[in-house]
Symmetry: C2
Subunit: 434 residues, 2 copies
């Protein structure tokens, strides 16, 4: 722990203490805090835009990439959207204090498993200052403290938003003090990654390489995904129109996102009849096609896909296409080259559909619909913390449930374990109450 500056460690300790205080706040108080934030953001739009403009002008001077710049810029509409998000988090059910199970171990000895906050969440993000507001709202609603570190390119925006948020929540209840900490630029992301003593879960938001860097440099559990290499397999029993529409939607509706299709797999028996029209549709939309040799033998004038293509998340109007002999080959390709994010089958044969759904090892698997549905809002979660490609804790689109864990509470009446061992041992009843 020698590498953590004392001042930083002190802030982390304060966040820890705050997390214990706010773990049991009532839904009413948490909702009041969220209402205050929404109101304060509305009343301070011009100040937010002013601070953001400083960041943007600085970023332009420093030659920040266009895509990062786009994510940095706040507008009147974006702030309205943010305010709407805060209210929608407020309207979600409180995830804390729910009874997950209850068992009578013996007469008057009852065990309850109750949801509770995780403690202190670490949030590291690039560029987008709106992420700060989103994550703060989710942490407030779930009773967690949060330590944040944004990119230096958004420093003024982040400081402004953080200050407005902390004012808002402290006026809702003084117990919120120190529960949302923002680290400023002079402290490095690396310091957060080292604070496994104080932070129970890390949520990185940014480019794949950024998330990968976080995962590789911390002992703290990380909730996030680094890549979305999503596939659609068009089966020989696919409905032709559904296949054309869904594949087009999955690639073209919003190609820059993680749940867009990157590789199309097509059953050999229908490749001749399906691929020419499909590829024509894609080409008309400006999609660059990279095909396996067999694809090229059907539709010429396309690039040859390399081994690297099957492993690539283009996030762009590029698509690789491979012809496969059957579901087994499709499943194998997906499990081998995919990123366990979202994959779909198009088939009218539900037995074959079921096989695909069973054997593909991804967080979301779909039949006869677009991979683009893989998203917290579309899944009805109300708010999305992120899409997780982890295989523990929370997987796929994650909402508030990713920010809670549980505690066991056992209420007895003088019960000792020695009563349950030896000659006249009592027996456990283990009767489910809930």
């Amino acid at each position: 722990m020698t590498d953590i500056p004392e001042k930083i460690e002190d802030l982390a300790k304060k966040a820890n203490q705050a997390s214990l205080r706010i773990a049991n706040l009532s839904t009413e108080i948490k909702n009041k805090a969220l209402d205050n934030i929404a109101e304060t953001l509305l009343n301070n739009k011009s100040e937010i835009l002013k601070q953001n403009a400083i960041d943007v002008s600085e970023a332009e001077k420093n030659g920040l990439s266009k895509s990062l710049l786009k994510r940095l810029i706040l507008t009147d509409e974006k702030i309205d959207e943010l305010i709407k998000n805060v209210i929608s988090v407020k309207n979600l059910e409180d995830p804390v204090g729910k009874t997950l199970s209850a068992v009578e171990l013996d007469t008057n000895l009852e065990l309850y498993q109750i949801t509770c906050p995780i403690g202190v969440i670490g949030m590291v993000f690039e560029s987008r200052p709106d992420v700060l507001v989103q994550i703060a709202s989710l942490c407030i609603k779930s009773g967690n403290a949060v330590i944040m570190k944004g990119g230096s390119e958004a420093l003024n925006s982040n400081k402004c938003l953080h200050s407005l948020i902390t004012q808002s929540i402290s006026s809702a209840n003084p117990l919120f003090k120190d529960s949302i900490i923002l680290f400023e630029t002079r402290e490095e992301v690396d310091v957060i990654l080292k604070m496994d003593k104080y932070i129970q879960l890390l949520i990185p938001r940014g480019s794949s390489s950024f998330v990968e860097y976080v995962k590789n440099n911390t002992k703290i559990p990380v909730l996030g995904h680094s890549e979305g290499i999503c596939h659609i397999y068009v089966d020989k029993y696919a409905d032709r129109k559904k296949a054309l529409d869904i594949c087009f939607d999955a690639k073209c509706q919003y190609p820059a996102v993680c749940n867009a299709m990157e590789t199309l797999l097509v059953h050999r028996d229908i490749a001749n009849s399906f691929l020419p029209d499909m590829i024509k549709k894609f080409k008309n939309a400006g999609v660059e096609i990279r095909g396996c040799p067999e694809t090229i033998s059907i539709v010429n004038d396309i690039k040859l896909a390399t081994e690297q293509d099957w492993r690539t998340e283009y996030n762009d109007l590029i698509l690789s296409i491979k012809i496969v002999s059957d579901i087994d080959e499709a499943v194998e390709h997906i499990n081998h080259y995919g990123s366990h994010h979202t994959d779909a089958i198009i088939t009218e044969d539900n037995e074959r559909g079921k096989k695909f759904l069973n054997f593909v090892d991804s967080s979301s698997i779909m039949q006869n619909c677009s991979t683009r549905f893989s998203d917290g809002y579309k899944y009805g979660k109300g708010a999305e913390l992120g899409i997780s490609t982890n295989k523990i804790h929370a997987r796929g689109p994650v909402g508030l449930e990713g920010l809670v864990i549980y505690k066991y509470i056992l209420i007895g009446n003088g019960h000792t374990v020695s009563q349950y061992v030896g000659e006249n041992a009592k027996n456990f009843t283990h009767r489910k109450i809930v």
Copy 2:
């Protein structure tokens, strides 16, 4: 990945492939495999004992510590116990394929959240060969593959048990091939810790320092606990008899385990009347007492507790005692010095009890019963994977539920996301089905 020997990586790849095959095995096949194991262990007792005797004699020569030696030795009774455990795992409900939630997103667009295995579990353990059988059974029942590395002191026992188990499951179904891999002594634990590409969850079993070493040297999520510093707080409204019995049970019934009490906190108002009898009872049982200055002023002839005592898991007949001014001080002490494992309050005042249960940040919190109840079997889980002090995924005593995660399955009928955006956008229904 350069440090992983090719042969080892090859085995890990095979375990990965196996994990995909066994993820969907029927309950019937998995139960058959467990039945086979029980039968094979019963039929090969003498061989197991013979191989174990080689390890034991070698360990004695090498001067293995008495406590490790005790854990290494298998007996006829221990094997019977193991067989019983295998059957009890068989009798547990299959944790795979359960529907956790189901939501209609729109007409004919239905989302299911279904439990599934995690994939490949990494198991590293010291000394106790019985752990191999326990974890193998739990992985089989939950459809996970497992890569194991035992201690070199138990090599012959482990090889024998592993060979009997792999025979048993392969004869139940050939798909089990390569699903339980044992690494032998020449490969180091460190190699397993590096295989984050192949292993999704690590379960270490052994001393606190061993678990700590594992946690500090891997990027793989670790399920386990390193320490159990458990407290009982005797409130001013405690029932005297319950307090005496429970505290005695929590310290003396089995002092070597993680859920035994290490520190007793007593409310100042009852310290004078309670502590002399309590300490006498402890001293009669051979417990060494280390008290705060105030405790010593009430009962002399005891050692002074140092700052280090509050942080120590004795796992022995030693107890530290501190007098506190009220619940708040007790809670603060527990959250500061404890290990977030199991802590109890003795009080007849349920309001005060509730405060304690709410504000202590531990995986199990108890009122009027012994901390020794914190255990998977006693909690009715049928089998225990371990007790987790993690705050994500699984916390407290963990059974089969710690070995599963979920996948989302979305079934549509040609649904595209573009239908839900723009001018004539369709609306989601988000109607709960389950």
